[in-house]
Every structure is written in C-alpha cells, then in structure tokens.
Symmetry: C2
DNA sequence: TGTACATCAGTGAACGCGCGTTCACTGATGTAC
DNA sequence: TGTACATCAGTGAACGCGCGTTCACTGATGTAC
C-alpha cells in the first residue's frame, strides 16, 4: 500500500483532537469543519474521507475524549484512597484550572445543553458520556448502599456541572472563585453527613 | 402621532417574547432573526427599528424573562412558608415539566454555557441573571448566617442547573426521571442537615 | 539498485443555503383644517 | 363631518459572508519488476 498502514488512523486522530478542543471551546455550532481541519494541519476538502458528517465527527470526538477522561479519573481516584474518589473529583472539577480551560475539560458542562437539543449521533453520545460519569462516580461514592451511592453521584455531578457553568457566567473573578469554593464546601459537607442511612422508596 | 403611542412598545414586547422562547428552545446561535421576527408576526427587515443588533436582542430578552421569573418565584416562595423557599424552588426546578419545556424555563440551564463563551451584552446579562437567582435563593435559604445561606443557595442552584442538564441529556425517560428525583432528594437532605452550624474560614 | 506504476490521502474550487445587516420603499394611521 | 397630509412602523430585495457537502484532480508513496 502507498502510505504507511497507520497513516490514515493518525490523521483521523489529529482531526478528532482538534475537533474535541475547538467544539468544547466555542460550541459545536460555533466551529466550522474548515477550522477543525485547519487546526489539524489539513484542508477542509479531505474531511469526508474520514467522517460521514459533522454530526459523526462530534460524536466520535465526544467519545474519544470522554473515554480518556474517565480512564484517567479512575486511576487518580484509586491512588488517593482512603479519600473518596468523589471528593477528589469535586476538587479537580470545581477548580479555577478547569473553569479556565473548557477546551480540555468536561464535555457535559460545555456541550450538554446544546447537544441535548439535537437528535443524531452527537445527541446519543453526550447522553452516553453523562451516564459513564454517573456510573463511575457512583462506584467511588462514600455511601453504603447501591441506591445511596447513585444518589450521591447524581447530586454531586449535577452540582459540579452547574457550579462550573455558574462560575463561567460570572465576570468578576472573585465572585467566580467564591462560587467554586461554595459548591465544593456544600458538596463535601453533604457527602460527609447525608445519604448513608435511610432509603427513599 | 400616526400610530397609537404604545404600538411600538407592544411590537417590541412581541419580538422579545418570541426571541426568549426561540433562543431557549434552540440556542442563541441556532435561531435566526428572520425566524424570531416571523414568530412575532413580522418580516425580518423591521428588526433594526427595535434593536441595534442580535446581541442586544438576546440581552434584552434574557433580562425581560428573568426579571419576570424572579418576581414570580418570590411570590410563590413567600406564600409557601414555613417550607423554605429554596426547597420550593428545588421541586419546581427539578420537575419533568421544567425538563420538557426549556422554551419557558431557566435561561442559565439553556443558554449559560453558550453565552458564557461570548463577550457582549448577552454575556453580561446571563451573568446578571445568575447573580439575581443566587441572591434570591440566598434570601430564602434555611441556614442561619449570611455566609451559610449563600453557600446553600450556590450549592443548590448549581445542582439544579446541572441536574436539569443531565436529565435533558438522558434519552431514556426513566433514567431522566431518576436523575431529577435523586438530585431533589440529595438537595433536600443536604439543606436539612448541613451548613447551619459552623463557618468555613 | 533503479525505474515504472497503481494507489489513495489530501487538495481546492464549486454548490446551494441561511445568516446578520442595510436600505429605498410603502401604506396604515392620527392630526389639522 | 369629511378630506389632505405628514409620520414612521413595517416591507422585501439585496449585500457579503461562512456554512456543510461534493467532486474532479494531484502528487507523495510503497510495491513490482
């Protein structure tokens, strides 16, 4: 064959990386394919040799980036025991570093609302990304029962997503820092005190 | 004068109402001015007799709709005492009704991530909307001190926003209902048990 | 070892379309006589 | 009361632009002789 056997796969990887970064930074509807291809060092015409449509690119980029993020979190969370993995996630997620770098951050906080309005592959994948995190967080939640773990994971992830979005809407840096700190404290306390004992039918 | 004195103000109101609905349903970037004007019963050419730019329309629609929502919540919350206003907000916000009607719902959950990326009047207004809710919720939070009220308001609002977004990304209705229920329970317990006593320095 | 070839990843012009914005105009209306 | 007029809210064609997608092509490459 005229090109190295992994050449096309490598190019595809470059496109996916450029897409994942650009879409998170400026929204899926806010970034054109020409821009993504340009950032991958290519011209826009070659796009359809790699993906069937923009929708498919968004879905593939979401999956690639989320699988890597979930795997990395799993490693970090396992290392830090006996601190609960969920408490670790809260610290990393609700940090000024994450707030300032949407392009390398959580896909739900940046693209959740936009993609939930759609109906194609990207819509399905953002749902899968959310479910992957809920499952992962439930596995690392401090509560005793399966149902209580799931409740802690869902409540905490919801507050992380909303807290990050709130912090990003605030223009005053002090207000934004205050929001992140308040949600962190709120969540650590809620996980310490509640949800272990009773079942809600 | 050739038209009734409030005629133009009424038309402006129709445009604002159509805009607020369309932008929340399909995103600010996902709706054209021609569509907004059409839904207001007008042609697109007349737009600039009412607003200087699309950015200004978005900002004005965000403000109109949020002022009304905050005022309405304040009434409902005051009626329902001694149940805390924050607990009332949680029930209404994290409902299937709200999940299924983004076009008449919270502007932060639908447009927060998108507009936080911008830099014009719309960006400034979405920040103002968020601050208005945080202040309002803090006023209705059950904790004793000002700082603890603010912490409860911020944590709860963050979880409401993220919970609603998570519920909207889920395609399975049962999973979506489960998410809403779990965040509601998580928040009611957190507000019952935590945050009243100690100060975090 | 050197050359001719077939492959196919990548190029760049072109498509129809909808966008935000501008502008010359039209025609329904309240006022003045 | 009836008519002529001035106003200005609203119309609709036009602008330049960027979008997603298509397609005829080009030229760098590994293989065969």
């Amino acid at each position: 064959m005229p090109w190295k056997s992994d050449h096309k796969a490598q190019t595809r990887g470059k496109i996916l990386a450029a897409a994942a970064e650009a879409f998170r930074a400026r929204g899926a509807g806010g970034v054109g394919l020409a821009e993504v291809m340009g950032e991958a060092g290519l011209t826009h015409g070659g796009f359809y040799a790699h993906f069937k449509s923009k929708d498919e690119l968004i879905a593939a980029a979401l999956k690639t980036v989320n699988d890597a993020r979930v795997a990395r979190f799993n490693e970090v969370a396992s290392e830090r025991a006996p601190v609960s993995g969920l408490d670790t996630a809260i610290e990393v997620y609700l940090s000024s570093r994450h707030r300032e770098h949407p392009e390398s951050g959580c896909t739900i906080a940046t693209l959740g609302s936009e993609l939930a309005r759609g109906s194609g592959k990207a819509r399905r994948q953002i749902g899968a990304n959310a479910r992957a995190w809920l499952d992962q967080f439930a596995r690392h939640a401090p509560a005793a029962t399966r149902a209580a773990k799931q409740r802690q994971a869902t409540g905490a992830f919801a507050a992380m997503i909303g807290g990050l979005i709130l912090a990003r809407t605030a223009e005053d840096p002090h207000e934004s820092d205050r929001i992140l700190a308040d949600v962190r404290t709120f969540l650590h306390e809620a996980l310490k005190q509640g949800g272990q004992a009773e079942e809600v039918p």
